[in-house]
Point group: C2
Chain length 167, copies 2
DNA sequence: ACTGATAGTGTTATGTTATAACATGTTATG
DNA sequence: CATAACATGTTATAACATAACACTATCAGT
């Protein structure tokens, strides 16, 4: 089960892939985590996570609220923000600062401070972990400073989109 | 003159330093740039830049507006956002995404995509350039993707603040 | 089962950040 | 001096986020 997840790369996200497996895998992981930690995976929390994991696109809080409303849940702002805060605390959702939007983590086993790769055309977002991205935060050059939290976001165009543009 | 600037480091920002020189140096650079590029360094633009370069702390757009109001300028939101957009285009101001705030670039000669080091205690922000920070964006591991723009923000506590806390 | 504590959800109101659209003034150029 | 461009001013509104409080569900200990 672990091996299956380790193979997930940037290209898998931007290319066509078996997203049903992404989805099922992510749901399974979050269920197991909640069970193990004795947390409630309530219908609302499940729904918010499902909305976010539907595609690899970040959604604004108000987009999530609309989706909740369509599915019969309350859609006043605090509903979304509370659930998002909760899911972020546990590493299942990340905020993309440059977009004021939220994305489901497809693999909470990763480093908890991933870098985000954001395609401005298809709007999909992939995570890459610290080591693979070549980013090292415990860096000697940033002396006189203790880093606690990092935000790394890279915006550009994925090859799937740039190939499509040249056809 | 160039050498003077190259010595600017993270520690210079967080420690006590001759900020008058920072200030004058920055103003001189922006004046020269505007002159060279035939751009208007209007009173409003100058004021906004001065407000931001007063300290190495980022300010929200509405804080800038208040300061503008106190100095007799108009203080409706578009005033600030337009000038900020303009100054950002030319690299004299950066936006700190994690704070929804704006900071004057103390050295526009740097890489145009610096990493930001943010102290959550004194709220000062330093820039470090790509190479020194150990961050390399043209990274082979982020394949299938052409990075156009990067955001790197590191939040923590500077040693000036952590020393102060243990006294 | 009762009781109180904790956690989760719902609702209203408000705060904060950012932009659209249009009017007016100012500056450079032919 | 006409006119195009750039710059600033103003009103309104959009987009993003939180405070405060009410109500409900779940759970632990009696
Ligand atoms: Zn997928
Ligand atoms: Zn794409
Ligand atoms: Zn200084
Ligand atoms: Zn500090």
């Amino acid at each position: 089960m672990k091996k299956k997840r380790e193979g997930k790369t940037t290209s898998k996200i931007f290319d066509d892939h078996d997203h049903g497996m992404c989805f099922d895998d992510a749901i399974e992981q979050i269920e197991n985590y909640f069970l193990k930690k004795n947390l409630q995976f309530t219908p609302l929390r499940r729904k918010v996570f499902e909305i976010l994991i539907r595609d690899h696109k970040p959604l604004g809080a108000y987009e999530i609220l609309e989706a909740l409303g369509r599915d019969g849940f309350s859609s006043s702002p605090p509903i979304a923000y509370r659930v998002l805060d909760f899911l972020m605390e546990h590493g299942f959702v990340h905020k993309i600062q440059g977009l004021n939007a939220f994305i489901a983590c497809p693999n909470p086993n990763h480093s908890h401070s991933p870098a985000f790769v954001i395609c401005r055309k298809c709007e999909k977002v992939a995570e890459v972990d610290e080591k693979k991205s070549g980013i090292s935060f415990a860096n000697p050059s940033i002396d006189n400073f203790e880093v606690e939290k990092t935000t790394v976001e890279m915006t550009g165009v994925c090859t799937t989109c740039s190939r499509a543009a040249t056809i």
